[in-house]
């Protein structure tokens, strides 16, 4: 392009500057997020000013209150019809307040709450020097096995920072699902990723693995977010804006005020496709879809199990929420470009996750691969690109998150001298020693396997139904096959627990505090309710399945 044109542009841009007004923020509609962030900040202050011995209680109190309040706020907004009729875009186009965002925010907040219970559990580990300890490092900074660490343990330090970190992560996720422009999306992504990186590093036992998990997660996460950011840059370049609505218009070609001078970049499809692809890739990384899944097993294994549970549940929810919004709001115009690609991704994810899981020997890695396979199933619903698709995905996520947290909570209970006994061989004969725990875990496994009368089946059916209706019958068949494969290893665990003789020096099942019990109980309850009488929640999901544009 020619320099004078650019110059004139520059001047016009210049004299537009003073017209910037004060931003208008609908605090009420953002209240869930704001509450959580506020609580998180309070938590930081607590860390700073409350004496050590009462920090734990203060933190738990603050977090619980905050999460409950946030959930109440979500319900309130939904009751006011912000999910359906009054759905609109708030905060100067940065945040969308609509059905999906509210539904997912509700799910995330609940997941956060249940996760918090497992975080706050301090009955499982044997008391060190007379003070109860949770599953987080006494002092993260202390070198594993060093005198400093011993001292910290002796002094009864606990890392109560985990609570504010959890809250920050939750806040980020809340924004992530409802972000309505790419910048917000990116910031939210970082806001919930960074705390998770830290949480991964904080395991009390097996700290080396924990730190390794954190490093891997961090480096790969940063790597992925760089791609995301580049994608955003390209989309910005394509549309000249980062707001979803604007980009969508440009994609549809319905945008009016195209500056002829910008023909070079504006509406250049290469930019669109590249940017879209990279952005989607960033989200698929968070989802844990093949081939961006490889961090999942290691991180799930290394991270403290409560964190794993929370991460596995909430991250998936948030990431799928963002993915849905991106594909349904921003890129519906280029559906025919991304659908086939997504098909491929969904297929390899379903099969890959299921197949590799067959030979796993560590229960946490096993669950990690199963979560990958599930990501594949959910993608099948995403691909449906229909109202049904959205609602089915929402339903699936809600059901899945509770099963996951519950399952990992059970994992925290099975312990031996070295902490949690995650190697499968140690689970042999668990059904003999403590039938109840084994039965509960079996229920979760059956839900994962999608056996009827569990939430897993209802969700799977909903998703596949949407996919089939959306003309993706082959995908359904492959999904069915891979869930058959997946069934194999879930069954293997059940066989192990019930039909093999208990090992003489096998692990013991710790009796948890009401917190973990609550987490597990909630998991079971939701699993069965969504399995037996899912109609109400399906209605909810259906109502909430419209994105505001």
């Amino acid at each position: 392009m020619s320099t004078p044109a650019v110059h004139s542009l520059w001047t016009t841009a210049a004299d537009r500057i003073p017209q910037i007004g004060a931003p208008k923020i609908e605090y009420g509609q953002l209240s869930p997020t704001l509450i959580i962030i506020g609580a998180a900040l309070v938590g930081v202050l607590v860390e700073a000013f409350v004496p050590r011995r009462s920090r734990y209680y203060a933190q738990v109190f603050v977090s619980v209150v905050a999460l409950c309040a946030a959930f109440a706020a979500v319900l309130g907004l939904a009751a006011d019809g912000y999910g359906t009729t009054k759905a609109h875009i708030a905060a100067m186009g940065a945040i969308a307040v609509d059905g999906p965002s509210l539904f997912l925010q509700g799910t995330i907040v609940l997941a956060g709450l249940v996760g918090l219970f497992t975080f706050a559990e301090r009955r499982l580990d044997p008391a060190a020097h007379g003070n109860r300890v949770d599953s987080f490092a006494a002092q993260a900074a202390a070198v594993p096995g060093s005198d400093a660490e011993k001292a910290a343990v002796k002094a009864g330090f606990t890392t109560t920072e985990v609570f504010p970190l959890l809250l920050f992560a939750v806040a980020g996720m809340l924004v992530f699902t409802s972000a309505n422009d790419l910048l917000t999306l990116f910031v939210a992504l970082e806001v919930f990723s960074l705390p998770l990186y830290l949480l991964c590093a904080l395991a009390r036992r097996k700290r080396l693995m924990s730190q390794e998990a954190a490093v891997k997660y961090f480096l790969l996460g940063a790597f992925a977010s760089a791609f995301t950011l580049f994608g955003i840059a390209l989309l910005y370049g394509y549309a000249g804006s980062v707001s979803y609505a604007r980009i969508a218009q440009v994609v549809d070609g319905s945008v009016t005020d195209v500056n002829p001078a910008l023909a070079g970049t504006m509406g250049n499809d290469a930019l669109l496709l590249l940017g879209g692809a990279l952005l989607v890739m960033g989200l698929l990384f968070k989802v844990g879809a093949v081939p961006f899944h490889m961090w999942t097993p290691d991180v799930y294994q290394g991270a403290p199990t409560p964190v794993t549970g929370f991460m596995a549940a909430a991250t998936k929810v948030a990431a799928f929420g963002a993915l849905l919004r991106l594909l349904y709001v921003v890129l519906p115009g280029m559906r025919w470009d991304w659908r086939p690609v997504m098909w491929a991704v969904a297929i390899v994810t379903m099969l890959g996750g299921a197949i590799v899981a067959i030979t796993q020997t560590d229960i946490k890695r096993l669950l990690a691969y199963s979560s990958i396979a599930h990501a594949g199933f959910i993608l099948a619903g995403v691909i449906a690109t229909s109202k049904n698709g959205v609602s089915s995905v929402l339903f699936y996520l809600a059901g899945y998150s509770f099963v996951t947290i519950g399952a990992f909570a059970v994992v925290t209970l099975v312990r031996d001298a070295g902490g949690e006994a995650t190697h499968l061989s140690k689970w042999a004969g668990l059904g003999r020693r403590s039938p109840l725990v084994a039965a509960v875990f079996a229920v979760f496994l059956l839900a994962f396997a999608g056996i009827p009368l569990t939430s897993g089946f209802a969700g799977k059916f909903a998703v596949f139904k949407a996919a089939a209706a959306g003309g993706a019958a082959p995908l359904v068949v492959i999904g069915v096959i891979s869930s058959a494969i997946a069934a194999f290893f879930y069954i293997r665990v059940i066989v192990l627990m019930f039909f093999s003789e208990p090992k003489p020096q096998g692990p013991t099942v710790a009796v948890p505090s009401p917190l973990t019990m609550l987490a597990i109980g909630l998991g079971v309850a939701v699993t069965l309710v969504l399995g037996v009488a899912p109609q109400y929640f399906l209605d909810l999901a259906t109502q909430a399945s419209v994105f505001v544009r």
């Binding site: 891997k216 992925a224 890739m281 961006f292 067959i358």
Partner: protein, 648 residues
């Protein structure tokens, strides 16, 4: 009057139920209950018989409908009984001979602690046999058909602790099953052809049916008859069936059950008359069997097996006659009845002999018994004269008629069949004389024998209870056993004459079977003469061999034919090699295949996924940078694919 028909069956059935469910407390009286009830059935039979005689020929068919058995769309099977002259004849034969043999068994099985059960089985057999002959449709007949099979299975294998007995029983049942297959296929064919398998509709619509279908039905019925009546090629079981107690051999494997095949063919006369090809097949089977059985009969040293061979051959005569159509039906049945008398008598005699000889069955260890057991000798002798067709005795009348009828078939067939029948007559004379001589005449070979020879093992372990002694002391059997023998002897002497004088039997049966005089190329007189000649030859040869020179106590090697005949003309070897061995190999290989192939495919798939998984998980090598590589590669693919999509 119809009401009585059900009672015919009910009585022995009740007996079976009581005796089998009653338990040990009935051990003392069980056998009398059984005998009583079978006799009761015989009495009912007589009552009905007199009633039939009271009616004129065309009203001599009684129908009793009890209940609808299998009502299904377009498929109607009823429990209905039909009593006409034919079934009446059988009823009397079955219940009469049956009762006598019950009586005989009271003595014969005296020392067996499972006597109660034995009588239970006998009653069960009577019930089934009566059901067979009284049924008004083929499906119900089939029930009786398999019922007698079951009873025969239970009775042959009555001494189950003897493997040979158990095997023989199994064999009998299996071979019969092959025949039953024929019957069931025949029934299906009838259903597709006539839409029914009740006698009335089937025989009524024969003319409406196609030739092919009728022939098929006929052949299938013949297959069934072969199985039950031990006709070639399904005859192999009868010899082994002699493992059963002798009364069983007498009742089931001589007098009644084995003749069921003949009944079936005669009963289906309407079908066969319309299917000449099938009839030809029947005659052929009959002719072959009558020779086959006779030859086998000559070679056996086991008295019961020899008699079994003769049974086979005699039934061969009946089947041959039945195959001749209206010319022969009546005589088939007549021979059946007379044979029922004398063959039962012969078997009971044999039983009595064994009874006195510590259950020795090897005739080479008999000899000169006539002065030790006179009654047995006389009754047996009369039976012998009857079966070889000595003029004036039963066999003479019935067999002679059959031979005539065979010739009357006309054409070369007539000559062949007639010739076969004649030869058969000669051989019959030979082997029966042989039995007679070896048993009752000659030197007393049973004296001063240390041990039994291995190749003649005891047929009846009842011996164990009777206290085995090194040397037998032949003695006459008790009254309870001899009386039935005497009665049967009387029957075998006068039966034939009674029937034939004034063709009583013919007129009695004709309304059911129909009758026509064939025009024989040879006159009745000539036939009789020929028969007589054959008879004399047979007897003479036998005398020359076994009468004049002493019988060796151990069987000589004998000619090739003899050796083959001893083994049922190699039939058993054939069965063993082809069916048994072949079957074993087949099943074994199938078991192997099921494990390796069918199961292997599935396990293979599972293992395949396992291996794939093992390989894939190696990608997860723990190095963050390789993960990054996969991400990078994935991103590249994603981008490339997206661009490609647009390009395409």
């Amino acid at each position: 009057m119809e009401k009585l028909i059900a009672l015919l069956i009910a009585a022995p059935l009740l007996g079976a139920a009581v005796l089998l469910l009653g338990g040990r407390r009935l051990d003392r009286v069980g056998h009398w209950i059984g005998t009583l009830l079978s006799t009761a059935s015989f009495v009912f039979g007589l009552v009905l018989f007199t009633d039939l005689l009271g009616r004129n020929a065309e009203h001599r068919t009684l129908i009793q409908h009890l209940w609808t058995w299998i009502p299904v769309e377009g498929f109607q099977a009823d429990v209905t009984f039909r009593l006409d002259q034919l079934s009446m004849t059988f009823v009397l034969l079955i219940t009469g001979v049956g009762s006598l043999i019950h009586l005989y068994s009271v003595g014969y099985m005296e020392h067996d602690e499972r006597r109660r059960r034995f009588f239970g089985y006998l009653n069960l057999f009577l019930a089934a046999m009566l059901l067979l002959v009284l049924a008004d449709n083929y499906l119900l007949l089939y029930v009786g058909w398999e019922g007698v099979g079951l009873a025969s299975y239970l009775l042959i294998g009555f001494w189950q602790h003897k493997p040979s007995a158990a095997t023989a029983a199994k064999k009998a049942f299996l071979v019969n099953r092959v025949g039953d297959m024929g019957l069931s296929i025949a029934i299906m064919l009838m259903f597709t052809t006539f839409g029914s398998f009740a006698f009335g509709p089937v025989f009524g619509h024969v003319d409406g049916a196609s030739q092919g279908k009728l022939t098929a039905i006929g052949l299938m019925l013949l297959l069934a008859a072969c199985g039950k009546s031990a006709q070639v090629p399904l005859q192999s079981w009868l010899g082994d069936a002699m493992e059963g107690p002798t009364p069983v051999s007498a009742l089931i494997h001589a007098a009644t059950m084995v003749t069921a095949g003949v009944y079936l063919i005669v009963r289906s006369a309407a079908v066969f008359d319309a299917a000449p090809d099938a009839q030809l097949a029947v005659t052929v089977v009959g002719a072959v069997t009558l020779l086959f059985g006779a030859i086998v009969g000559c070679a056996k040293d086991d008295i019961k097996k020899a008699l079994a061979g003769s049974t086979m051959s005699q039934i061969g005569y009946m089947v041959l006659a039945a195959g001749l159509g209206p010319i022969g039906y009546v005589f088939a049945i007549m021979h059946l009845v007379t044979h029922g008398f004398f063959k039962a008598g012969l078997f009971l005699g044999a039983g009595s002999v064994m009874h006195g000889m510590n259950d020795e069955v090897d005739m080479r260890r008999y000899g000169g018994l006539r002065k030790y057991m006179p009654v047995t000798f006389v009754t047996f002798g009369l039976g012998y004269l009857a079966i070889i067709g000595f003029p004036g005795l039963s066999g003479f009348f019935s067999k002679d008629k059959i031979i005539e009828a065979a010739f009357a078939k006309g054409g070369t067939e007539g000559w062949i069949l007639g010739g076969a029948a004649l030869v058969g007559a000669a051989i019959t004379a030979f082997y029966m004389t042989r039995v007679m001589l070896m048993t009752f005449f000659g030197e007393e070979r049973w004296k001063n024998q240390a041990t039994r020879s291995p190749e003649a093992p005891s047929a009846e372990p009842a011996a164990e209870h009777r206290g085995e002694t090194a040397e037998p002391h032949p003695h006459e059997s008790p009254k309870v056993m001899t009386i039935p023998m005497i009665v049967l002897a009387v029957g075998s002497v006068f039966g034939g004459g009674f029937f034939s004088i004034g063709d009583r039997f013919l007129y009695w049966l004709e309304p059911v079977t129909g009758h026509s005089e064939g025009h024989s190329p040879v006159s009745a007189g000539e036939v009789t003469a020929a028969t007589m000649v054959c008879l004399v030859i047979g007897v003479a040869v036998a005398w020359a061999q076994y009468g004049r020179k002493p019988v060796p106590a151990v069987a000589p090697r004998g000619s090739l034919l003899t050796r083959a005949a001893r083994r049922d003309l190699l039939q058993d070897d054939f069965n063993h090699v082809v069916l048994v061995r072949g079957g074993e190999h087949l099943t074994r290989s199938l078991v192997y295949l099921d494990h390796t192939l069918v199961d292997g495919v599935v396990n293979g798939t599972a293992a395949g996924f396992g291996g794939l998984s093992g390989r894939l998980r190696r990608l997860q090598n723990g190095f963050a940078r390789s993960y990054a590589v996969s991400m990078f590669g994935g991103a590249a693919l994603l981008v490339a694919a997206t661009l490609l999509m647009r390009a395409v």
